[in-house]
C-alpha cells in the first residue's frame, strides 16, 4: 500500500520524487503495522476473558467497562516495573532478542491482504516470505536463551527450538497444498483462486495440519513447553522482567491471531464474501473468520492438557510429518490425473463452481480416506500396546 494519490500530490507540490515515494511508503507502513499493534491490545483482554469464562470465572472486570482497560493498567504496571539485567548476561543480545521476537510477528502483517484493495505488499513469493520471517522468531528465542547466561534459560531455549524446527516441517508441507492448488505464492492470488471453492473443502487435512503445527509454533497448549509455568521455571525467558518480558508475551498473543488470519487467507477464502466485495465488508468478513479460528485456538489452549516433550516429538515425527508428505503427494497425484482427464480446471481463479465441484469432491474423499486409514492404524497400535502391557502384567502376577 503506497498511497498512489499521495505520492503524486507530493511530487506535484514540489517535493523530490524519491522523497515523495519514501513518504508515501512510510505512511503505508505505519497504517499496515498499526493494525496488529492495535489488535494486540484487545487480544490480551479477549484472551483473559475467554480463559476466565472457560474456567468458570469472570476475568478482568474492574478497570473500565467489562475490564476493557485492564490491558492499559497492565501496560502501566510493566512500564514502571524495575527491569533487571543479570550481570552475567550478554547485554547486547539480551536486549535485542525481545525486539526481534516481536518484530518477526509484526513483519508477517506486511503481506496480509485486508481487502481486495488494501494490503501492504503483494509479494510474488508471499507464502515463502511468511515462512522465512517466522524463522527469525526461532533465532530470537535461541539468542534469548543463550544471552541470559542461565542454565535453565539455555536448556529451555534448546527444547523450544528443537520443537519449533520439528513442527515447521508439517507446517510448510501443509502450506504447499494451497500454493500448489492456486499455482502461486502471492497471498492475494491465493485468495482469488478460492473464489468458487475454499481450499478447506479440497484439503481439510492440510488445514488441520497447518492449524496444529501453527498452534505448536506459537507455543500454545497442548504444546506449551516453551513456558510450562506450572512445571518448569519459565523456559527461555526466565531472566526477563518488566517490559522486555512483556514483549515476548505480546509477541505470543499476536502470533496466535496472526495464525488465524493466515489460516483464513490460505484455506477459508480470505475476504471473499459471497455477495459483494465492498472493502469494509471484506475487512469485517476476514476479521470475523480469523476471530472464529482464534477462538478455537483459545478453546483448545484452555481445555487440552499439556503433552510431555517426548510425546510432542513423537507426535510430530511419527504422525504429522508422514501425514503431511502423504497428503501433499495424494493431492498432487489426484489433481494432475484429473487435469489430464479434463475433470479439473488448470486455473482456479477463472473456474466456475460447476467446474471445480468434481475435483473438490474427489480431493475431499481422498483426504477422508487418509484420515480413516490413519485412525484405524492408531487404534490398532493402541490396542497392541495395551495388550502387551496386559500380558506383561498377567505374567508378573502369575510369577508371584
Amino acid at each position: 500500500m503506497d498511497c498512489p494519490g499521495l505520492c503524486e500530490a507530493l511530487a506535484n507540490g514540489g517535493v523530490n520524487l524519491g522523497l515523495a515515494q519514501f513518504i508515501s511508503l512510510f505512511i503505508g507502513v505505519v497504517l499496515v503495522s498499526g493494525v496488529p499493534l492495535v489488535t494486540v491490545i484487545f487480544l490480551i483482554w479477549i484472551e483473559r476473558k475467554v480463559a476466565a469464562r472457560i474456567q468458570d470465572r469472570i476475568g478482568p472486570n474492574r478497570v473500565g467497562p467489562f475490564g476493557l482497560l485492564q490491558t492499559f493498567a497492565d501496560l502501566i504496571k510493566l512500564l514502571i516495573k524495575e527491569d533487571i539485567t543479570p550481570t552475567a548476561a550478554d547485554r547486547l543480545l539480551y536486549n535485542a532478542a525481545p525486539l526481534v521476537s516481536f518484530a518477526s510477528v509484526v513483519l508477517i502483517w506486511a503481506i496480509v491482504p485486508f481487502t481486495p484493495y488494501h494490503y501492504g505488499v503483494d509479494l510474488e513469493i508471499g507464502a515463502l516470505y511468511f515462512v522465512a520471517v517466522a524463522s527469525l522468531g526461532t533465532l530470537a528465542i535461541m539468542t534469548a536463551g543463550w544471552a541470559s547466561n542461565n542454565k535453565y534459560a539455555l536448556l529451555g531455549a534448546f527444547r523450544v527450538v528443537a520443537l519449533l524446527v520439528s513442527y515447521e516441517i508439517p507446517l510448510v508441507f501443509a502450506l504447499m497444498v494451497p500454493v500448489m492448488l492456486a499455482g502461486t505464492m502471492s497471498m492475494v492470488d491465493i485468495i482469488y483462486a478460492q473464489s468458487s471453492m475454499w481450499f478447506v473443502f479440497m484439503s481439510p487435512l492440510a488445514m488441520i495440519l497447518f492449524f496444529i503445527s501453527s498452534q505448536a509454533e506459537t507455543g500454545r497448549a497442548p504444546f506449551d513447553l516453551i513456558e510450562a509455568e506450572s512445571e518448569l521455571v519459565a523456559g527461555f525467558n526466565i531472566e526477563y522482567s518488566g517490559m522486555k518480558f512483556g514483549m515476548f508475551f505480546a509477541a505470543e498473543f499476536l502470533h496466535v491471531f496472526t495464525n488465524g488470519i493466515l489460516l483464513t487467507i490460505l484455506f477459508f477464502g480470505g475476504w471473499l464474501f459471497p455477495l459483494w466485495n465492498e472493502p469494509l465488508i471484506a475487512f469485517a468478513w476476514l476479521g470475523l473468520k480469523a476471530s472464529v479460528l482464534y477462538f478455537i485456538s483459545l478453546w483448545i489452549r484452555n481445555t487440552v492438557p499439556r503433552m510431555r516433550i517426548d510425546q510432542v516429538m513423537w507426535f510430530n515425527w511419527f504422525r504429522l510429518v508422514p501425514i503431511s508428505i502423504l497428503n501433499l503427494l495424494a493431492v498432487a497425484f489426484l489433481v494432475k490425473v484429473m487435469q489430464e482427464l479434463g475433470l479439473a480446471p488448470r486455473d482456479l481463479a477463472q473456474a466456475t463452481l460447476g467446474e471445480v465441484l468434481p475435483m473438490t469432491i474427489i480431493l475431499f474423499l481422498s483426504n477422508v480416506a487418509i484420515a480413516i486409514g490413519l485412525l484405524g492404524q492408531v487404534r490398532s497400535v493402541g490396542r497392541e500396546s495395551r495388550l502387551a502391557t496386559e500380558t506383561a502384567q498377567t505374567a508378573t502376577a502369575v510369577g508371584d
Binding site: 515515494q21 519514501f22 511508503l25 507502513v29 505505519v30 503495522s33 512500564l79 514502571i80 524495575e82 533487571i84 539485567t85 543479570p86 550481570t87 552475567a88 525481545p98 525486539l99 526481534v100 516481536f102 518484530a103 506486511a110 505488499v121 509479494l123 510474488e124 516470505y129 541470559s148 547466561n149 542461565n150 542454565k151 535453565y152 536448556l155 534448546f158 527450538v161 524446527v165 515447521e168 510448510v172 508441507f173 504447499m176 500454493v179 500448489m180 499455482g183 526466565i238 531472566e239 518488566g242 517490559m243 514483549m247 509477541a251 516433550i309 517426548d310 516429538m313 513423537w314 515425527w317 511419527f318 510429518v321 508428505i325 503427494l329 498432487a332 489433481v335 494432475k336 489430464e340 488448470r346
Partner: protein, 120 residues
Amino acid sequence: MDILNNWAFVGIFAVMAPVFPALPIVIAWLLRPHKPNVLKSQTYECGVETVGDTWVQFRVQYYIYGLIFLVFDVEMVLLFPWAVAYNRLDLFAFAAGFLFIFLLADGLIYAWRKDVLAWK
C-alpha cells in the same frame, strides 16, 4: 521496477518493526526505578548459588533434529517452484516430484529405523 518498489515497502517495514517494541522499552527505561544490587543481578537459580559453568554438555539429539530440519528445509525450497508451476506441467512432473520426495522420505525412514527421532 515494480519488484523493487514492493521490497522498498518491506525494507521500511523491516526497519520499523523493531522500533515498535523498542519504543515502550525505552519509555519504561525512562520511567522505571534503577536500583540494581549484587543480589538482584545474580543469575536466577532457584535460591541456590550458581555452581559450575553455564555451558553444560548438551545431547547430540538436538543436533539431529536440527540436521533433519535443515535437509527438509532445503527440500521444500526446491519443491516450492515445483508446486507453483504445477498447474502447467504434465504427469511427468508429478513423477519427478514423487521421486524427489521419495528419496527424502527414505532418509526419514532410516532415521526412524535407527530410532534417533524419539526423545530420550
